[in-house]
């Protein structure tokens, strides 16, 4: 146990010290990957632990990102109308944009808006005992609804171009390296607290109920628990994580568009978790970093055929590593343990036999 903990701390220490050994560009990439890792933790909670496969987390990510981006856009416009509204024929700032002039409101709604949507959606589906494939399909439908809405309402959302071209956050220039380092460290802190909270949650009684729901929801219900409450809570929690990830993503990447909340990114999010190992929180984080790192690495070095490498990676993981990358580590450890046990058993057998004689 201590040994395992030691590895976690080393991992997070390496993340904290990244500004010292990575260039500005690599650091901004890592910061982006860590935002994805936040989403991955949430998906691991609902998929790996509770058995809810959501193919629609792009929406929560996007909502969080848009809330933050609206604030940044207003700050960049300096009291004037955002540029895309001007050429879309809007004369006055729409009422729902007004509150986002306040950073506190923008940041808190980056969490509250996704959570409210998740609560609404999950309460009505889980209460009616809609689960499995039906829930996955429903989550895809939500993605389509939101993407269409955001593209169609160009005068309010910037359409397919999305929101971009920000200059400052709280008066600090977004392009200065120092701001980016601070934002990066903030991302690491947020990721670490999400990780610790989720670890505590999964090890508590609450977490055991989640696993029980995954394995047999009816039995849990017969035992007197109400699975709906648990599922709604954990689903909304993962939406909150995705929302925070979106806000941090916008701050570091400086761009959000409907394409990033679409069906393909939503499925990709699940893929990261599958690569890392779905029932391991640290696995989800590693999966998000490794997959996106590989994507950047391959596409930089082999711009013509990089998709083949990435596809190969996915196929290899699905075929040979059904429990993801962390599954390999665990099975190695288990084999070692089993080996030890077997050796012990064998020796005790010998002893028994010897004693019989």
């Amino acid at each position: 146990m201590i040994k395992k903990n030691w590895m976690y701390w080393l991992f997070f220490l390496a993340l904290f010290l990244a500004p010292f050994y990575l260039t500005e560009f690599r650091l901004s990439l890592l910061g982006k990957f860590l935002c994805f890792a936040m989403i991955a933790i949430g998906i691991s909670l609902i998929w790996g632990y509770t058995g809810i496969l959501s193919l629609g987390h792009g929406v929560y990510f996007g909502l969080g990102a848009y809330c933050m981006a609206m604030y940044l856009k207003l700050e960049a416009s300096g009291g004037r109308l955002p540029d895309f509204m001007e050429w879309s024929g809007v004369n006055k700032l729409p009422w729902f944009w007004k509150p986002f002039e306040q950073p506190v409101i923008a940041i808190s709604s980056a969490i509250i808006v996704p959570v409210l949507l998740a609560m609404f959606l999950s309460y009505f589906t889980f209460r009616n005992r809609i689960k499995g494939v039906y829930f996955s399909l429903l989550s895809q439908a939500i993605v389509v609804v939101f993407v269409t809405l955001f593209i169609g309402k160009q005068e309010w959302t910037g359409g397919t171009n999305g929101l971009t071209n920000f200059s400052t956050v709280f008066g600090f220039s977004l392009s200065s390296p120092l701001t980016q380092i601070v934002l990066y460290l903030l991302t690491v802190v947020l990721l670490l607290s999400m990780f610790l909270f989720s670890r505590w949650l999964t090890r508590s009684r609450f977490g055991r109920v989640l696993v029980a729901i995954r394995d047999s929801e009816n039995r849990v219900r017969f035992l007197g628990f109400n699975p709906t409450t648990y599922k709604v809570f954990v689903y909304s929690l993962s939406a909150a994580f995705a929302g925070i990830a979106g806000a941090m993503f916008v701050l570091q990447v400086g761009l959000i568009s409907p394409a990033m909340m679409g069906i393909i990114p939503s499925i990709e999010m699940v893929l990261w978790v599958a690569v890392g190992g779905r029932s391991s929180l640290i696995g989800a984080i590693i999966g998000a970093i490794v997959t996106n790192g590989a994507k950047s690495f391959f596409s930089e070095n082999y711009p013509d055929i990089w998709l083949l490498f990435l596809g190969g990676l996915f196929i290899a993981v699905v075929l040979f590593l059904p429990n993801g990358l962390t599954g390999v580590y665990q099975s190695v450890r288990q084999r070692k343990k089993q080996g030890e046990v077997r050796a012990n058993e064998a020796s005790s057998h010998v002893l028994q036999r010897v004693s019989r004689f």
Binding site: L17, P19, F20, Y21, T23, E24, F25, S28, L29, K32, L81, D83, F84, E86, W87, S88, G89, N91, T148, I151, G152, Q154, G158, G159, T160, N161, G162, T164, N165, F166, L174, S175, V253, G254, L255, S257, A259, M260, S296, S299, E300, P303, D304, W306, L307
Partner: protein
């Protein structure tokens, strides 16, 4: 007591080691920073005999089919410059990146090209969304981007040169020509994204001012393929002209279904702004024959430069390949940049920008000139009729190059568009 002492020593040594590590880390990173600063001062990626430029298009994903040809055209232009002795005594070394039809990837790769490879300029982009994603990156890093595709205007970044048409070099003259030659009743059809919506806003204002009549306006999601409802609407309202801003695959579906519904170019004129030779190859010339498109260049444009250009392009990339407007704009963008570098005598972004004003180049589609104020190019406008063999027959051209006006300042009716 003895034990404690030993422990204390261990702690002390650990602390020492730790602080040493941190210190050396700091020193190393500041050394790296210094090295970076120095590199920046010694003006970017120039070595003694090469200079790096970035090429950033989608080589995978939905946009790859269009953007790969732009990369090919840019590489051909770079090769030409290198063959004729390079630039300021240096060979140009292209660094190719894949934008993967994904807008954050465009931002990421543009950052990589500017910060890591330290390229002196980037040629790239197709969709407006990709340009908008790259814009803050090139502005913050004071880089240079050459964007080669016609677009919706309303933009002029100090770090971007636009070699494609803005609205007053494509849409506005096309609408005026249609009103004079084809009729007053317009039906607007577009894919649901920024370009069609903005273009149609402009068209509606122009129709009002020039006596046209709007009889319908429809948008379909990108990739939409069922146009039967819209075609029956078109049959109901009987427009003289359908102004088509559909993008990609939707065009195939729309034109095939239009033909199946028994509507030919004789009954109804469809004017398109996103269908060039490359797209005709995908849809089929027989389906499109008789319909119109407006561009600044056709493969059939009759200039001596174009004959050489088309021949060379086909020889290099295959007999079945075609050239079109964005390909030509990507090609001459490289040459315009090279001319500006020669005039500036330097690869420095600020000097090149300053030198670029008024630079002319004999492009395949006619002479183009950079307008220093907007950093757009003067271009000739051409309206062509699609022939069954997939080529255009030019019906009209503006004669001389039209001055770019991305904010439509010289059109009184456009005042209400921008508050």
């Amino acid at each position: 007591m003895k034990r404690l002492k030993g422990n204390g020593l261990k702690w002390l040594s650990l602390l020492l080691c730790g602080s040493l590590l941190v210190l050396s880390g700091c020193a190393a990173s500041s050394a790296v920073d210094e090295a970076k600063e120095k590199k920046k001062e010694s003006s970017t990626s120039e070595t003694n005999d090469t200079v790096k430029v970035g090429i950033l298009h989608s080589l995978s994903g939905t946009m790859a089919i269009s953007e790969v040809s732009l990369r090919d055209a840019e590489l051909m232009a770079i090769e030409e410059i290198n063959e004729s002795g390079g630039l300021l005594g240096k060979k140009i070394e292209p660094v190719i990146e894949d934008g993967a039809s994904d807008w954050p990837t465009f931002a990421e790769k543009a950052k990589k090209l500017l910060q890591k490879d330290k390229v002196v300029t980037i040629f790239g982009g197709w969709t407006s969304a990709s340009r908008k994603a790259m814009l803050p990156v090139v502005e913050q890093n004071n880089g240079l981007l050459w964007y080669p595709v016609q677009y919706e205007g309303m933009e002029s970044s100090p770090n971007i040169f636009y070699t494609g048409a803005t609205t007053n070099q494509q849409i506005v003259p096309a609408v005026s020509w249609l009103l004079q030659n084809k009729g007053k009743k317009f039906f607007l059809l577009g894919s649901d994204y920024v370009f069609p919506r903005t273009a149609n806003k402009i068209i509606k204002a122009q129709l009002k001012a020039e006596g046209g009549q709007l009889v319908g306006e429809e948008y379909t999601p990108l990739g939409h393929t069922d146009y039967s409802t819209i075609i029956s609407k078109i049959k109901d309202v009987k427009p003289d002209v359908v102004f088509n801003t559909l993008n990609g695959d939707s065009n195939v579906a729309f034109f095939k279904q239009l033909k199946d519904a028994g509507i030919t170019a004789k009954d109804l004129t469809v004017m398109s702004v996103s269908i060039a030779e490359e797209e005709i190859r995908g849809i089929g010339g027989d389906v499109l024959a008789g319909h119109l498109a407006v561009w600044n260049y056709f493969q059939s444009t009759d200039t001596p430069e174009n004959k050489v250009f088309v021949e060379k392009y086909k020889e290099k990339y295959g007999k079945d390949r075609v050239t079109d407007d964005p390909i030509e704009a990507a090609y001459f963008a490289v040459h315009l940049w090279a001319e500006a570098v020669k005039k500036a005598g330097s690869f420095d972004v600020d000097k090149v920008k300053k030198a670029a004003d008024g630079i002319e180049y004999k492009a395949p589609g006619g002479t183009v000139k950079i307008d220093g104020e907007t950093q757009h190019t003067w271009k000739i406008v051409r309206i062509g009729e699609i022939q069954p063999d997939g080529q255009f027959k030019e019906l009209w051209n503006s004669g001389e190059a039209v001055k770019p006006d991305p904010y439509l300042k010289s059109y009184p009716w456009a005042k209400d568009l921008m508050n």
